[in-house]
């Protein structure tokens, strides 16, 4: 399935709807330059954002009509669209949004010419308006507008044409638009997560490969659980998932084609192979192979071919995560006597240790922004931590009994990991901001582990 053909961004024409009568005439104001307010670039102090109120009323429609996207028609769909935007921005923790269930519904004309009086009375500095229009071919046109209530000014707008089954993506695109415009960060809501769904008792766990949207919607099982599946990774173009399966009785890596439903082996080797990783350009797959008590990291073209051995030593070298520019790989190795984190060039040269802070360090993942490496720090408990690519500035993001296997949101802002409960061994997926704040659990139908976040969908 090529998402691109179902989603077109459109340029919205300036609304020609008549302006609503204002309660007080708006005085001419000087428009401040938002780019000077320190809102762009890397945001490290978020305290100012948490007071930013954003009103997100229901989206309006120009024509009430049935649609496959909602059993009650386009008006009801407009409410659902706003709810998705609201939940995206609320769970993010950066803003204080108010959702459509607590707000009056604007009319279609008001979407492009807001009734400022309605919104100025509430504690909302920002206002999101949107519309959904049913097209003759069954698709939907969704428009999204962000307004500054104080200045009575539009900040940004965008629109998309989507197939009815993809309506949630339009809402995520709207949330991304609002989020990136206000925070200066790159978007990430319109993305998908691959993970392992877990059921059953601790000594007989059923583990299935599954996928879902970044907010947990559109959940789908990929494998049936007859063989244990582990550690999935989306390819950067979302067409494939590389994962470990015990289908043949031992750990092997399969590349599953989502469109065709078929899968191929990454390598024909009879040795255990695990820890699959994609390069940022999707052309190379890293994997770890264990032979005669020694595990090393290999790379192989994603389309198949001759593997290339990157590490070659007596220790266990496992994992590997590319820097965003694809030039370096961070991986874990116990060659020093305990699990620690190393960086090497993508061809395996210049391997050097970067973790020197006590305890053990494992499962390193390079942020898509390039500025941080997330990893599991083992010192008694297992905790999620981050550090710079040179190994400095180490700090913990979580503090529980067993948190492990962090991966990044596409914009490098949020770390996703799984948490294991003591004794029961039950697992769940959690997210935390890179500042360590806003730790929250992701809703999944059953137990969940090994989460991997794909990039933003184009």
């Amino acid at each position: 399935m090529a998402f691109r053909t179902f989603l077109f961004a459109i340029v919205l024409s300036l609304g020609a709807a008549p302006a609503w009568a204002q309660e007080t005439p708006a005085p001419p104001v000087e428009v401040p330059d938002f780019e000077e307010g320190g809102l762009t670039g890397s945001v490290t102090d978020d305290s100012a954002w948490q007071d930013l109120g954003i009103a997100i009323p229901a989206f309006a429609t120009n024509r009430e009509a049935p649609t496959p996207a909602n059993s009650q028609g386009t008006t009801a769909l407009g409410l659902e669209l706003a709810r998705v935007v609201f939940n995206d921005l609320r769970n993010n923790g950066l803003f204080r949004p108010v959702g459509p269930d607590a707000l009056p519904r604007p009319t279609y004309a008001q979407i492009t010419a807001p009734a400022w009086g309605t919104w100025q009375g509430r504690a909302a500095e920002m206002l999101v308006h949107g519309y959904v229009r049913p097209n003759d071919d069954g698709r939907l046109t969704v428009g999204c507008y962000l307004y500054d209530v104080q200045l009575q000014q539009e900040l940004v707008r965008e629109g998309w044409v989507v197939a009815p089954a993809e309506w949630r993506r339009a809402a995520h695109k709207c949330a991304d638009l609002v989020y990136s415009r206000l925070s200066g960060e790159s978007p990430f809501f319109d993305s998908k997560i691959a993970y392992i769904a877990e059921t059953g008792p601790k000594d007989n766990r059923v583990k299935r490969l599954a996928i879902m949207d970044s907010d947990g919607a559109n959940h789908r099982f990929i494998t049936n659980g007859q063989s244990t599946a582990l550690t999935p990774r989306y390819s950067p173009d979302y067409s494939k998932i590389a994962y470990v399966s015990y289908l043949n009785g031992y750990a092997r890596i399969y590349v599953y084609d989502i469109g065709t439903g078929s899968q191929t082996l990454v390598t024909q080797s009879q040795n255990p192979t695990f820890a699959p990783r994609w390069s940022p350009d999707g052309r190379t797959i890293l994997y770890s192979m264990a032979a005669a008590g020694n595990t090393d990291i290999y790379s192989v073209p994603a389309t198949g071919g001759t593997p290339r051995r990157l590490t070659d030593g007596p220790g266990i070298d496992v994992g590997g995560s590319y820097s965003p520019d694809g030039s370096r790989i961070v991986f874990e190795s116990d060659r020093s006597g305990s699990q620690q984190i190393y960086v090497m060039n993508a061809d395996g040269s210049n391997q050097r240790r970067i973790s020197f802070f006590g305890g053990r360090a494992a499962t390193p993942e390079w942020s898509p922004r390039g500025d941080l490496i997330a990893f599991t720090h083992i010192a008694g408990d297992l905790r999620i931590a981050v550090m710079s690519p040179s190994g400095g500035g180490m700090r913990h993001l979580t503090s529980a009994w067993q948190d492990e296997a962090p991966t990044w949101s596409p914009n490098g802002r949020i770390v996703q990991f799984f948490r294991t409960a003591r004794n029961s061994g039950e697992t769940s997926i959690w997210q935390v901001d890179l500042t360590g704040r806003n730790e929250r659990r992701l809703n999944t139908p059953v137990g969940a582990s090994d989460p991997a976040w794909g990039p933003v969908l184009p």
Binding site: T228, Y250, G293, I316, V318, T376, I378, E404
Partner: protein
Amino acid sequence: MKKMALAATVVGALALTACKKEAPAELPPAPQSTATTPTPAPPPSGPVPGTQAHFAQAMAGRDTIYFDTDKFNIDAEDQAALREQAAYLQQYPNIRATVEGHCDERGTREYNLALGERRANAAKNYLVSLGVPADRLTVVSYGKERPVALGSNEQAWARNRRAVTIVLN
């Protein structure tokens, strides 16, 4: 050890072959003259010799060896258990076995897959050093995926850090 194995093989083979047309030149030694009888008359309900069920019963727990945290070395207790496993495998030279390596839950998933392979490989190497041909042994790692003890405490973890030898039926 090897002589007994050879005698056992000969006795076993003769017990299974069809009738010969002429009497052998030399009578084979009576089965009860050897110290270990490889094939005692099985009770009707007992496991078939040379199968996993029979092996597990014969080993009575010594089909499993245990490791310290993050370690994969074979200690004296492990050696004793592996010697018994090797003896059994040499009594039934046609059977193959796999060694499974396991870890406790108190580590990361992918490293534990590697460590499990290391443990299984260490056990396999020791069996080979005792005379079991390497081509009869395979190695599998389950990392921390297959615990037998369910608690989150030292005793449970110690029971899960193991290598188990399984006879392939």
